[in-house]
């Protein structure tokens, strides 16, 4: 991958190798974990990683900071609840498309309205619409109201064949289903970034006016990214329902969106693998903090402050910095950035 003009992806063969090693390490985790509790924690982290990765399509790639992303995630989990009969789980090939379609459809409406605004307006409007969806589940009996509801988990099955796992093995099966989805999502987004569509999105982040001047209808590109990101958040939300078998309004709330943003910043804003690192670190940190103190919010709040004040390039930035100190991970505004080649590439691509 010497000819790599997409700075969100690893620049070298060694970088890709690092990602493969990371994925293999994640795959080995269930065999290293001392108990199923840690396997389940790992699944939670993988789901968080999917959510952060889906949001990265908007934030790091297109430059749209949305605070309503958690709504699509929660909506998908609730969709699984709503389509599933009371006692029997449905196969995944039915629940997953249903969840993704609902998330995508709502993202289309929310995106079409919110993208009429920019910057802080966009932030506040996405937050408000996200909370609207939150209130639908919080204030009505649609999904069990404030208490939430239990649901029969989706089944891993295809064409009449069903993966039957004994109760003790189930967390491991779920973990691998989540890991496979995460890997596929990363590969899909990596391919997307290298496509014309992905290059236009990155061009919009660097300089939207230039993309308009080049003749791109940036509203449609941003809307497409918004819908796609919503659908991918739906994949994560579906996996949550499958993992926990429980939905409550907190899943839809905006704190989830803010946490996903934090995972992105923690991991590294302008890399595609950063959000995954950030999500794993964030979940691990939450777990570790509970060993030390009851006051989880205190630790989380202080960590966010440190990240925002000190660790401005994220964890992925530390890595890049160690290897290539010459290339700024976060170019100052106005300086010629490594991304400027992207828009040029889009024209020829």
């Amino acid at each position: 991958m010497a000819d790599n003009d997409t700075p969100m992806l690893p620049a070298s063969r060694a970088g890709w190798l690092g990602l493969v090693v990371g994925a293999l390490a994640l795959a080995a985790l269930p065999y290293l974990a001392p108990s199923t509790y840690y396997v389940e924690l790992g699944t939670t982290a993988l789901i968080a990683a999917m959510l952060a990765l889906s949001l990265q399509l908007l934030v790091g790639c297109t430059g749209l900071v949305s605070l309503g992303h958690g709504a699509f995630y929660g909506l998908a989990a609730y969709t699984v609840y709503l389509v599933t009969p009371a006692n029997a789980g449905l196969p995944m090939w039915m629940t997953l498309p249903a969840a993704v379609l609902v998330s995508g459809a709502v993202a289309a409406v929310v995106g079409a309205l919110s993208l009429r605004t920019k910057g802080f307006f966009f932030l506040m409007v996405t937050l408000a619409f996200g909370q609207m969806i939150f209130f639908v589940f919080h204030d009505t009996k649609l999904g069990g109201g404030t208490d939430g509801a239990y649901l029969a988990r989706p089944l891993i099955s295809a064409f009449g064949w069903e993966l039957q796992l004994p109760r003790r093995q189930r967390p491991i099966g779920t973990y691998y289903v989540a890991l496979i989805q995460l890997v596929l999502m990363y590969i899909g987004l990596a391919l997307l970034l290298r496509s014309l569509f992905g290059r236009v999105l990155q061009g919009i982040r660097v300089n939207e006016h230039r993309m308009v001047a080049l003749g791109y209808d940036t509203y449609r590109y941003k809307l497409a990214a918004f819908i796609l990101a919503g659908m991918l958040a739906g994949v994560a939300g579906h996996m949550w329902a499958m993992h926990r078998g429980f939905v409550n309004p907190e899943l839809v709330g905006w704190h989830r969106s803010a946490e996903a943003l934090l995972m992105i910043l923690l991991g590294g804003l302008y890399t595609l693998h950063g959000p995954i690192l950030g999500a794993l670190a964030w979940v691990g940190l939450g777990e570790a903090s509970q060993l030390i103190t009851e006051r989880k919010l205190l630790v989380e709040g202080l960590v966010i402050l440190v990240v925002v004040l000190v660790l401005r390039r994220g964890l992925a930035g530390l890595w890049t910095f160690a290897r290539r100190p010459a290339e700024p991970a976060r170019p100052p505004a106005g300086a010629p950035s490594p991304e400027s080649g992207t828009a040029e590439g889009a024209r020829h691509g």
């Binding site: 506040m124 619409f129 905006w254 910043l265 990240v307 925002v308």
Partner: protein, 289 residues
């Protein structure tokens, strides 16, 4: 529907809207002048409400809470501005969002540490704990009238300050063109400090006034923060008069919607916001960006 009930709901709506204005005006001022979005603004409101609760519990009277809220708000705002916010005016949106999100978590933890996680009701001050008879069969809470009066006084004072004083002119200029403040030789840091402190004091005051009406409970700032965003979006970001009319509109729509269209409950205001975004994305009172 009966007329007396309608009048009561209209008054409730006006009272709610004016309270929202106190919160939203601080949000929009701080954004207009410093270009920063403060998600912790709802937490400041919560601080005010809990301050009222604590003062009421300690002294048995709420009268001290109002000056305590205003002065405490100015002090807290100055502290936050000097200590944290001023380093973030030029930073990216994402950093500002996360800084203020961290503050929400810390404020919530502080609240849990000091007061616990229980729901507390706050008694209405005894002197205002009666109903004002309007007609022979209709009366309205004196405390709510008092809240309306205090909010209107504060709103008038705010408008006078911004529109009629020299410092207000500087604020308007800074919101229009930040560079102009430096060119005129005015200390921009002082302007930022004052604006932030005033915005914080307004949020705390709203919290103090709201405590007897809505009680105090964990995360109470969240709901008010998000409704204030809707107010600001509809009013036009950075416009204080826009925030005023939009807050009244939202207060009335939300109150009447909840009273007369059950099932829709809280959704009415979001439908309104969607309609405004379709019709005038810059807000009803904002100028096109």
């Amino acid at each position: 529907m009966d007329l007396a009930g309608l009048v009561a709901q209209l008054l409730n709506g006006v009272q709610y809207g004016l309270l929202l204005f106190l919160i939203a005006s601080g949000l929009t001022l701080v954004f207009g002048v410093m270009g920063i979005i403060n998600l912790a603004h709802g937490s400041l409101f919560m601080v005010g409400a809990y301050a009222a609760f604590l003062v009421g519990r300690a002294t048995g009277s709420l009268w001290l809470a109002l000056p305590a809220g205003i002065l405490g708000g100015i002090a807290l705002g100055a502290l936050l501005e000097r200590g944290l916010f001023r380093h973030f005016y030029k930073r990216e949106h994402l950093d500002q969002v996360l800084l203020t999100f961290a503050l929400i978590l810390l404020f919530e933890e502080g609240r849990s540490f000091l007061v616990g996680n229980d729901f507390h009701s706050v008694p209405i001050p005894a002197a205002l704990d009666f109903s004002v008879p309007i007609t022979s069969d209709f009366s309205y809470s004196a405390y709510r009238f008092a809240v309306i009066a205090v909010c209107l006084l504060l709103a008038l004072g705010l408008f006078w300050w911004i529109e009629r004083t020299r410092f207000g002119a500087v604020i308007r200029a800074a919101a229009e063109k930040p560079e102009i403040v430096d060119i005129l030789g005015i200390d921009a840091r002082l302007v930022h400090l004052v604006v932030f402190a005033v915005g914080t004091a307004l949020a705390l005051t709203a919290g103090v006034l709201a405590a007897p009406l809505y009680s105090v409970y964990p995360n109470m700032g969240d709901g008010f923060l998000i409704i204030s965003f809707v107010v600001v979006v509809i009013g036009g970001l950075g416009s204080v008069s826009g925030a005023f009319w939009s807050a009244l509109l939202i207060g009335l729509v939300d109150t009447l919607g909840k009273a007369y269209v059950p099932g829709v409950s809280g959704l009415a205001i979001y439908v309104l916001m969607a309609a405004v975004l379709l019709w005038r994305p810059a807000g009803l009172f904002g100028r096109a960006a």
